[in-house]
């Protein structure tokens, strides 16, 4: 029996352009177990969002070209599914929560009707029944006075409420997998915590798998079980959230963690990773991270390190991993 809710092997996405081939995602593997929350972390421009759209096969061609060796949801192989077949998968079995609820909601349609659509599309029910379920779903994610709010247009709601509507919409048909693409980035810090709480509560209550795309490590530590760190279209490290926070192996993960200031920590200096993610048209040779890496050697400049797998399930793409314990080295 398959324990994985999502099995993705060797996903590649490129965007041909007049200036050259933009390599957005370069062969990544992703496993999400049932009921697990997996976070994909990285700076903006590293291919996270493209990955999330690719999982739902939502990338348009043109402009995108996508290849994948395996894309299995539960026991269903989606790789060769047609657009029509994917339409019945989307929303019903996989759904997505976008970053900016203001633009992700249709401005000229009431939020209630937008949630109704979800029920009407995937269940054979009347409009009245759909609205009843919509109100339930909105109440579940903590939208007060759901009945009157459902008749509001997106611009009449606050940012937090809009995001809740998106969450309600995503959970409407109780899908197997939910992708949350930076679900809290556009919100105020105080609202972020609330929305995250709702998201986590819903995920655990209904035991769905969650793929959380974020650049914010503090979000990850609260919600995720496993973390994939992405850099410039490649996975550079995979670890459980506890391991990653305790002993980040890849210098990039280390840098990401160190750049999160902690109130309790007064000893260590606040560290920044210099420079920024390379432009996808001008990726450096060797390890993509080497120009920004303190530990880079000649080898790093020439060869892309392979993604090495440790016995405890951790994976890292680095010739000089940090904080590797003896037990891990024995493997």
């Amino acid at each position: 029996m398959n324990d994985n809710m999502l099995t993705m092997r060797n996903l590649k996405v490129v965007f041909p352009s007049n200036a050259g081939m933009i390599r957005a995602v370069e062969g990544i593997d992703l496993d999400i177990r049932k009921g697990e929350c997996v976070a994909v972390v990285g700076e903006s421009g590293c291919g996270k969002s493209v990955t999330s759209l690719a999982v739902m096969k939502l990338l348009n061609s043109p402009p995108a070209l996508m290849r994948v060796d395996e894309l299995r949801l539960d026991d269903e192989e989606l790789k060769d599914y047609s657009e029509t077949k994917m339409q019945s998968i989307r929303g019903q079995h996989i759904s997505i929560i976008f970053q900016d609820a203001m633009t992700a909601l249709n401005p000229v349609m009431t939020v209630g009707r937008q949630v109704d659509e979800m029920f009407l599309r995937h269940n054979d029910i009347s409009k009245k029944e759909a609205r009843k379920r919509t109100l339930e779903a909105l109440e579940l994610v903590g939208v007060p006075e759901a009945k009157s709010r459902a008749n509001n247009f997106p611009h009449q709601l606050s940012g937090g409420m809009r995001q809740r509507v998106l969450i309600a919409m995503a959970f409407a048909c109780m899908p197997k997998l939910i992708i949350a693409d930076e679900p809290t980035t556009a919100l105020d810090v105080t609202i972020q915590a609330q929305v995250l709480e709702v998201l986590r509560g819903m995920q655990q209550k209904h035991d769905v798998s969650l793929m959380l795309i974020t650049h914010d490590l503090s979000v990850v530590s609260n919600v995720a079980d496993t973390v994939y760190v992405m850099y410039s279209g490649k996975i550079v490290e995979k670890a459980s959230v506890r391991d990653l926070f305790k002993t980040p192996h890849h210098p990039y993960s280390y840098g990401l963690l160190a750049s999160v200031p902690k109130l309790s920590d007064t000893k260590h200096q606040f560290v920044q990773i210099p420079d920024s993610v390379p432009h996808p048209l001008r990726k450096p040779s060797g390890c993509y991270f080497h120009p920004r890496c303190r530990y880079a050697t000649e080898q790093c400049k020439k060869e892309m390190p392979p993604l090495e797998r440790f016995d405890n399930g951790r994976e890292v793409r680095c010739y000089h991993p940090l904080n590797v314990t003896d037990t891990e080295l024995q493997s």
């Binding site: 007049n18 062969g27 290849r67 040779s285 060797g286 892309m304």
Partner: protein, 345 residues
């Protein structure tokens, strides 16, 4: 401009300025030429300009000669490539060539004056704001609801049917559209850092408008001049067609009116209708093309979005496969081995 500068330096300065402008125009024409669509427009417009300037030398007959009673209503032939009119036997090709003068003169001069007026109004409304803005915008709103063609007819009736009046009326009632577009662009420019910096440095309003804002809108103005010139040519032809243009000049619109009035439709003299129609078509088409291509040059985003489909059609499958293959784990030992064509650029 202080008086103490001696003449030589002033001349040098003017000379330099002129050279700079000429160089810019040259570069600009070069860009147009490189664009396949722009080239067509450029060629068409150049031909029209040559025809207009050298009309008396190019035209095979005297277009005003209405005494050719023997040559009435001839279909196209070697003697008369576009035939002659039914009523007076005038040579249509010669009339067509002379007609470029009116169309170009009215179109281009109106386009240029209109661009100036529209720019000034738009910049004042956008940059000064407040009372000036609302006053100008109220005027725009009023102009917008007054039907243009009837108004022009009324005004030419009142002030006479010469081209000065026609150009004046076109300008007076045509600037509103441009002013609105310029205004919204200025509202964006106003908040840009370089304008803010100039304000902090204590530059005068006038200086900022002329030196910082106007250049920012120049591409819009040039483009607009080309497009309105085309539009005005159509309008002028329409006016002449109604018999409301200058009665003494030969214009394409008037040729069409004469054709209709002279029974070209009835007697099947198709050449008499098609010739001026093609004249209008090519003139408008040429200017439009230049305007549209300018828009593409100045707003590369528009081009890029449509170019992607072309790009996909011509995509080299083998190259794509190589790119995908290069991403595989084992083959990537030396990183990005495949040099990409545009990486250097």
């Amino acid at each position: 401009m202080s008086e103490t500068l001696d003449k030589k330096t002033i001349f040098q300065r003017i000379g330099k300025n002129v050279l700079k402008r000429l160089k810019r125009i040259g570069e600009f024409l070069g860009k147009l030429w490189k664009h396949p669509k722009g080239r067509i427009g450029l060629i068409v417009v150049t031909i029209l300009v040559i025809l207009a300037v050298f009309a008396p030398w190019i035209a095979p007959y005297d277009p005003y000669d209405v005494t050719q009673r023997a040559a009435k209503g001839l279909p196209p032939s070697w003697q008369h490539p576009l035939g002659t009119t039914i009523t007076t036997g005038q040579d249509i090709l010669s009339m067509l060539i002379y007609g470029t003068r009116v169309s170009l003169l009215i179109g281009v001069s109106t386009g240029i004056i209109l661009a100036f007026l529209g720019a000034i109004m738009g910049i004042m409304a956008g940059y000064i704001g407040g009372f000036v803005d609302s006053a100008i915008m109220r005027v725009v709103d009023v102009m917008l609801v007054i039907p243009t063609l009837p108004l022009i007819i009324v005004l030419t009736g009142l002030f006479g049917r010469n081209y000065f009046v026609i150009v004046f009326v076109f300008v007076a009632f045509g600037w509103t559209g441009l002013a609105r577009v310029v205004r919204s662009l200025v509202l964006v420019l106003k908040n840009s850092n370089y304008v803010k910096a100039a304000e902090l440095a204590g530059a005068s309003r006038w200086h900022i408008m002329m030196r910082h804002i106007l250049p920012g809108t120049s591409h819009l103005l040039i483009m607009n001049t080309a497009l309105t010139s085309a539009g005005i040519m159509v309008a002028e032809a329409g006016l002449s067609f109604l018999g409301l243009g200058d009665p003494t000049a030969i214009s394409w619109g008037k040729m069409l009116a004469d054709a209709q009035g002279g029974g070209a439709l009835l007697f099947g003299a198709w050449w008499w209708i098609i010739a001026p129609g093609l004249g209008i078509f090519f003139a408008v088409f040429g200017f439009m093309r230049i305007g549209i291509v300018m828009e593409e040059i100045f707003n590369p985003r528009m081009k890029a979005s449509s170019g992607i489909y072309k790009l996909f059609k011509n995509l080299n499958n083998q190259y794509v496969e190589e790119v995908f293959a290069s991403m595989d784990e084992r083959k990537l030992l030396t990183g990005d081995v495949k040099p990409e064509p545009a990486e250097s650029g």
